[in-house]
């Protein structure tokens, strides 16, 4: 192997790793706050990517109708939950977020889709659409189960994943799609060629890691989320609305997922079911990071990306085997270093 190939593989690995890092961060965030292991994270990726690609191709994405439908569902859940005390303001707020907002986005999408909108508009619309889907999903599927065990939440998460994947096929068909580059152009440094797209990936990943770090370290909402993660009951007693924390976590996760999708889709063709595997690699990173540490997750994700790039060069048949088996030595180390005193759980 010569240095050029090695550098090339490293670059490829770091680009993929940056995406896994973002997804890993989102998974850690959602798990810490809501105890949901977010298997549908992969669907957020494909929805974001394919919505973006459809819009850029001048097609009307089905996801925006899904957002409105889910919004109506969320409104129904809100009404049912508040049936004993129907305050006007409460209903108004619910109508605004759950019905008016997705309706406006739907109208905008219809308007723009007809005229092949610029890249920035496509990105903005895709992000808003997927963000709403994430938010409403939490309201409908997970908020009613918030008190149950991690296992039940996990199975519900699987159910959501199945439904979303089926809907993905319905909306986008079995054909793969590619989208236009977010940032075109490129430059070379030595033997390496940096495309605008890969620079975007690095930039956005770093921005998000710093942004999340600032959010959790400095803002009141960030601290509320951390408090919810540590102790739900305690957070509630301190006046933190844990459902709000859950909503914020899902909102962030869906935005991160969609953004990752938009960044990958110009590089590789994505299919309606590609997200699952991409999300799982984010998982691998998140587990290596112990589901608690953001910087460790980011580093682990880059390692996963590099291992993947090298193994696809040397043993492409065993690429997935190697990536997933990477976990075993990590888990082994963790189990050896596991703390002796364990917590009470049920």
């Amino acid at each position: 192997m010569n240095t050029t190939i090695m550098l090339f593989l490293l670059q490829d690995g770091i680009t993929n790793g940056a995406i896994y890092a973002l997804l890993g961060l989102a998974l850690v965030l959602v798990f810490a706050v809501t105890r949901v292991i977010l298997i549908p994270q992969g669907e957020f990726v494909t929805y974001g990517a394919l919505t973006y690609a459809s819009l850029a191709a001048g097609q009307m994405p089905g996801t925006t109708k899904l957002a409105l439908a889910l919004g109506m569902g969320a409104f129904a859940f809100d009404l049912f939950a508040a049936r004993k005390a129907l305050h006007g303001r409460l209903i108004l707020r619910s109508v605004l977020t759950n019905i008016v907002l997705p309706a406006i986005v739907l109208a905008l999408t219809v308007y723009f889709a007809a005229q092949k909108p610029p890249v920035a508009v496509c990105i903005a619309l895709s992000l808003v659409i997927v963000a709403m889907i994430g938010l409403f999903l939490y309201r409908i599927a997970f908020q009613p189960l918030a008190h149950t065990s991690v296992l039940v939440l996990l199975i519900a998460s699987v159910g959501v994943h199945l439904a979303l994947q089926g809907l993905g096929l319905l909306f986008f068909g079995a054909e793969g799609q590619r989208g236009p580059a977010v940032l075109s152009g490129s430059f070379t440094a030595g033997a390496l060629r940096f495309t605008g797209q890969s620079i975007t990936v690095y930039g956005i990943t770093i921005a998000f890691i710093v942004g999340l770090w600032l959010f959790f370290g400095l803002t009141l909402y960030g601290k509320a989320l951390r408090a919810t993660a540590v102790n739900r009951l305690g957070a509630r007693l301190a006046g933190i609305r844990t459902t709000l924390s859950g909503q914020i976590a899902f909102l962030l996760a869906s935005v991160i997922g969609a953004l990752s999708g938009i960044m990958i889709v110009p590089i590789t063709t994505l299919y309606y079911d590609s997200g699952f595997l991409i999300g799982l690699k984010g998982f691998v990173a998140a587990i290596i990071g112990g589901l608690v540490s953001y910087p460790l997750t980011a580093v682990a994700a880059v390692v996963v990306g590099i291992v993947e790039a090298f193994s696809s060069f040397y043993a492409s048949n065993y690429k997935e085997v190697i990536v997933f088996m990477l976990l075993i030595p990590v888990l082994l180390l963790r189990s050896l270093a596991a703390p002796a005193v364990e917590e009470e759980k049920d």
């Binding site: 798990f31 292991i37 599927a141 009613p144 189960l145 149950t148 065990s149 991690v150 296992l151 039940v152 996990l154 199975i155 519900a156 699987v158 159910g159 959501v160 994943h161 199945l162 439904a163 979303l164 994947q165 089926g166 809907l167 096929l169 319905l170 079995a174 799982l280 998982f283 691998v284 998140a286 587990i287 112990g290 589901l291 048949n317 065993y318 997935e320 085997v321 997933f324 088996m325 976990l327 075993i328 888990l331 082994l332 963790r334 189990s335 596991a338 005193v341 364990e342 917590e343 009470e344 759980k345 049920d346």
Partner: protein, 589 residues
Amino acid sequence: MQSRLPILIFALVMAAIPFVPGMPPFWIVLLDNIGLAALVAMGLVLLTGVGGLTSFGQAAFVGFGAYTTAVLSTTYGVSPWLTLPLSLVVSGSLAVLLGLVTVRLSGHYLPLGTLAWGLGLFYLFSKLEFLGRNDGISAIPPLSIGSFKMLSPGSIYYAIWVAVILSALLTMNLLDSRTGRAIRALRRGHVAAEAFGVHTPRAKMLVFIHAAVLAGLSGWLYAHLQRAVNPTPFGAQAGIEYLFIAVVGGAGYVWGGVLGAALVVVLKEVLQSYLPLILPGSGQVETIVFGIMLVALLQLAPGGVWPWLMSFLPERTRGKKPDTSLKLAQRTRSPGQSSVLLQVDKARKQFGGVVAVNNVSFDVQAREIVALIGPNGAGKSTTFNLITGVLSATSGSISVLGNKLDRAPPQEIVKLGISRTFQHVKLVPDMTVLENVAIGAHLRGHSGPISSMLRLDRADEAKLLAEAARQIERVGLGEQMHQLAGSLSLGQQRIVEIARALCVDPMLLLLDEPAAGLRHMEKQRLATLLRELRDGGMSVLLVEHDMGFVMNLADRIVVLDFGTKIAEGTPATIKTNPEVIKAYLGVAA
């Protein structure tokens, strides 16, 4: 535990189904599939619902079972009946390997870890040359008895359902035994189980292997039903599906696994065959509806369908009282033993910069009640944890009958005859009082998992339950023997913990705030009991805040404050000790 009649009826009904005239052959295929899924789900019930270990990797074990028989019976022409034990051994031994890596993981690492190796193994199945890569292996011979070949789904039906019903019986036998109680205690954390000698990593490994062997059995049957295998049914999706079969059915119940399999298989079939009629044209509508129904079902019955159905049945009278005339062997007490039972010598425990226990020394003599008192945060519970091996001391030594306990784990310390209760009650709430107390006698029984499954453990089991019943009556809870421990009041639960500790046949009983939550009369009864125990030759070391209780009961009192021993003596001298009064009231009297 349960009557065997419903199972017998179920077996007869299942045996009669193929003879129902006009039964569509397709239904038999469905029942075959239900049986196969039920076997895997049953393993998951034990692993996840009872043992608290979530695994996404079960499909890989099904794959091991199926591929083992596929390779051996095609490439090497081995008879399918000979490959059955081999399939089980292969899945079981790979479970040992994977279990060594994953079982020790706690909380959410475990499910994610199993997901990872489940995926990795799926890709391995689809890439290995001798497993036929993505095409798999075909032309697997059918099962046969003499010249009768089980070619049709109707003929292998009996093999599958005999396997399901036998496995269910064996699994239920296992749960209703000494080993089963250890497994059922796993979900509530390790500390309590280990304090009574349960080797928790071994118990976890056991359920892991049990679940893998059941999955391997399902795989073996699958290979001979389909007579072809390929990697698809052993992937991560299948692993996830098995898990939700168990959860939908009711993850804590053996029959929940069977019911869940029936519900999920039938539901998928109905959706696949009828949904296109209602909503024509679109490809994956059944997946969408299936996903939505799954979430809806969980929101309506988060515990699963089986317990929800069972709640409609009238409450049955639980169990009969064990025959208390059976006796367990008692601990041999050497008559010439030294009078110092427990010697704590300059024990010290630091957590980072905090000194929780600061060079504390005291002893407990034979036939003595010693009380350890002090304000909150004085280090009393930490001292208990040092003595019982939950924590290891930073420096200093603790010895029992002159033998030093050098970092001995809790399982070893209980063998020396030291048993304890906990400040925060650690009972298994969904087990009866009798079963909880019987965990205390864990080390006094000998039956292993195999003999429990085959019901060869009954003589041993009867003695354990008799001992448990005797201790429950001794502490005055005979009426509550068959109630669930979680339904008792907190005070009663503390008393149950004392009964459990007594089942060890201890020389020294460590009680952490036994009187908290008790009413006045109950406290008096407890004091009487403890005096009786002392007069019977036992020593008691207790932590307690109720001064009236302590002063009337204890022979000697050790006072701790901020981790340091500030006084020791009889109740009368402690009451007037200025240091003690200062520690409690903050002023010098």
